[in-house]
């Protein structure tokens, strides 16, 4: 009897310990609780740095496996519903976006060019979207990422750091030269032309890492080589944040970035294997994940998305697939 009681007590303690272990305390009030990995009936669906796209309306998540050129759709409980792309032939999707109506917009690249086309919810290819009215400075525009917000598509060329915003018929609405903005931000405190020239030389090959757009049209992106994350408001004001380093709150190799509806920002760090949380005032709130073998750990996290329920999706390397965390406590700040 006593043995059973002790056994039950140990089991209880173990259960509590495991529950606590799944909760990574970022800061008092902010919590990230590991839920599961995106899975099918055979278990975790493996992938290396899947590109994530959230269907906000249905809380479904799309994971594009770049290596397999396969798009998988998962339910709001993380189970695979379907996949498509295997019969696209020579078309290799590199990014996709989804509208409120459930229309998919697939960006694919090809030799010396790229294509953007619509798909229905079954992944059946529909009309192509031909972009019109690109300005001259977008001459070599070669996007590899697409995002959707409120009737507009945001096409991102990570290497030239240009963003083209188009409507659903392909008409160019406006553009952003993120590279020029970042370089100006980087050199604004320099006191001499020589110092500026030196900094400019250091920034020749900077590029956009992660990119996202929130419901208000505010853009978020990372510049890994500068250990920087940025928020670009619709009025053109650029804010940057981040300090290089290996300690809590500091940037190693930053990658994906996403913001929730309240403006809390989530930044993944490949090198440190964490997700860093910042509040709308760009104050560091905490981080979670860390390299390790436990389910709640992360291994080289990359793309990240967060839905309206506070479920955070993080793509990883090493075929770890996509981990899902429940973020709570932010409203208490």
């Amino acid at each position: 009897m006593k043995t059973n009681a002790i056994k039950h007590l140990r089991i209880t303690i173990l259960s509590i310990a495991m529950l606590v272990a799944s909760v990574t305390m970022a800061k008092a009030g902010v919590q990230a609780e590991y839920q599961y990995n995106l899975s099918n009936f055979w278990g975790t669906v493996p992938s290396l740095w899947a590109q994530l796209t959230l269907d906000q309306e249905n809380n479904e998540i799309y994971a594009l496996d770049l290596n397999e050129s396969l798009i998988k759709v998962f339910s709001e409980s993380g189970m695979e519903l379907q996949d498509f792309g295997q019969d696209y032939g020579a078309v290799h999707p590199v990014s996709l976006a989804v509208s409120e109506a459930g229309t998919l917009f697939v960006l694919s690249t090809r030799y010396q060019g790229w294509d953007l086309f619509q798909c229905n919810y079954r992944g059946e290819v529909g009309a192509a979207i031909i972009i019109q009215g690109l300005p001259a400075n977008f001459g070599d525009f070669n996007p590899a990422r697409v995002e959707y917000q409120k009737g507009s598509l945001y096409l991102v060329d990570s290497h030239s750091m240009l963003v083209a915003v188009i409507d659903l018929s392909g008409r160019f609405l406006r553009g952003y030269d993120l590279g020029s903005m970042v370089r100006a931000e980087y050199t604004k405190s320099s006191k001499s032309d020589a110092a500026i020239a030196k900094l400019q030389k250091q920034m020749i090959d900077i590029e956009v890492g992660g990119f996202s757009v929130d419901g208000a049209g505010t853009m978020y992106f990372t510049v890994p080589a500068l250990f920087t994350a940025c928020r670009l408001h619709t009025d053109g004001v650029l804010e940057s944040f981040g300090i290089a380093g290996g300690g809590p709150g500091k940037f190693g190799v930053v990658a994906g970035i996403a913001a929730d509806k309240r403006g809390f920002i989530f930044v993944t760090d490949r090198l440190r294997c964490v997700v860093l949380v910042f509040d709308p005032a760009l104050n560091f709130q905490g981080e979670f994940g860390y390299r390790g073998p436990e389910a709640a750990n992360l291994l080289v996290p990359d793309d990240v998305e967060i839905d309206g329920r506070g479920y955070l999706y993080v793509a990883q390397a090493a075929n770890r697939g996509v981990s899902v965390f429940k973020i709570t406590g932010l409203e208490e700040l």
């Binding site: 050129s69 590199v94 510049v223 250990f227 944040f241 290996g246 964490v274 080289v300």
Partner: protein
């Protein structure tokens, strides 16, 4: 029973930076970078072990050395210092490790991933050792395939001849871009921070595999042209490869192997090289004959300009090297070749049909040089034969 720990992220005062600080663009800077770029002093939090490797006592931010490197050098698409991409689009002269995970086939031509390049082991990024038992050790050598990684060739600490501990002067700048030390009593790093004759190579830098030959001399184009997309080779490349592939370094073909090395001058082949433009076109001139798809070493003491288009001068300079035919990291072709060895007409190579059928992305760079994808049809013509003919003119 082990209780599991709660991971506490320590937070201090709010960190908000207006303005940008720091740049990774000179991370290695020719020598050893900041330690916490690759190492974690306390495993980030609470001294947890690094995942995947109980033998990793080097506190690396990766399951192995190569995974640590690829935290930065791996990318989704081409760009700058990315030498492993998700779509094979990298244009770095060394090649894209994407091909090490990509097999393709068309008709009777098969091209296994394992045969595309150096089979580095990087657990976090899905790179595994060569599965071909014939390659259990390096061809022409003894280096174990299971130990192959980035640090088998590259000294992650960028030391020159053992570093300052061995009496060397401090490294002022990278030795990859043709800089000249401007500060007295300083030196440049090795080209591409390759290990030299004081280096003991290994996937974990401690396998006690001693190099005998020094790092090669070469100059890569820096900056907007791509890091290392254009390279002027000077000398010592074949000798350096022979650190592991000694049996393949021969000075004449009587051994049944193609000769290469500092002493294997282009000599009598310079005329072919300079006049050969493409199959059937011998209108080339020495001033513009250099073809980066068939590079050669310009010789000891030569002026190295990665932008130079000049070809060899017969008998006075220029020697064939391993990289004349092979890429250092990987390529789309068997035996990590720069161009197909398996097609009679390279413009109609099986690799293009495989690409058209979707074996790999349309953005994958198959033939490329000087930071540009080469349209073989447009550049060399429909009836271009193997680029071995650049020297041998047997077409």
């Amino acid at each position: 029973m082990n209780s599991k720990k709660v991971y506490l992220a320590l937070t201090t005062a709010s960190i908000m930076t207006l303005g940008i600080s720091g740049s990774a663009m000179a991370f290695h800077d020719g020598g050893v970078a900041k330690c916490n770029g690759c190492h974690s002093m306390h495993q980030s939090a609470d001294a947890k072990p690094v995942a995947g490797s109980t033998a990793n006592s080097w506190l690396m931010k990766g399951s192995d050395a190569s995974s640590t490197c690829l935290n930065c050098h791996n990318g989704t698409t081409k760009g700058g210092y990315k030498i492993a991409t998700a779509d094979g689009s990298a244009l770095a002269a060394g090649g894209d490790f994407f091909w090490m995970k990509t097999s393709w086939a068309n008709g009777r031509t098969t091209s296994a991933a394992d045969n595309h390049g150096h089979n580095i082991v990087a657990k976090d990024f899905g790179f595994t050792a060569d599965a071909d038992l014939d390659n259990a050790v390096a061809p022409g050598g003894t280096y174990a395939a299971t130990k192959l990684g980035c640090t088998s060739c590259h000294d992650a600490h960028g030391q020159v001849q053992g570093g300052t501990k061995q009496g060397q002067k401090p490294i002022e700048a990278s030795g990859s871009y043709g800089a000249v030390p401007s500060t007295p009593d300083t030196i440049l790093g090795n080209y591409r921070i390759l290990g030299d004759s004081s280096y003991t190579a290994g996937s974990i830098q401690n396998d006690n595999f001693a190099f005998n030959n020094d790092a090669p001399v070469a100059v890569a184009l820096n900056g907007s042209g791509g890091y290392g997309a254009s390279v002027a080779y000077g000398s010592g490349m074949s000798e350096w490869c022979a650190n592991c592939h000694a049996g393949l370094l021969v000075s004449n073909s009587s051994t049944g192997k193609h000769p290469s090395g500092n002493d294997v001058k282009i000599d009598g082949y310079a005329g072919n090289y300079n006049s050969y433009v493409k199959t059937g076109d011998f209108t080339g001139a020495q001033a513009t004959s250099y073809d980066a798809l068939v590079p050669y070493e310009r010789g000891v003491g030569a002026t190295l300009d990665p932008a130079s288009t000049a070809g060899p001068v017969d008998g006075t300079d220029g020697n064939v090297m391993c990289l004349t035919c092979h890429r250092a990291h990987a390529s789309a072709f068997n035996n990590m070749a720069r161009f197909s060895f398996d097609d009679s007409l390279i413009a109609e190579g099986a690799v293009f049909a495989a690409q058209a059928e979707g074996d790999f992305a349309a953005t994958a760079a198959i033939y490329y040089k000087d930071n540009t994808v080469v349209d073989v049809h447009a550049t060399y013509g429909e009836f271009q034969r193997s680029l071995c003919n650049k020297c041998h003119a047997q077409d």
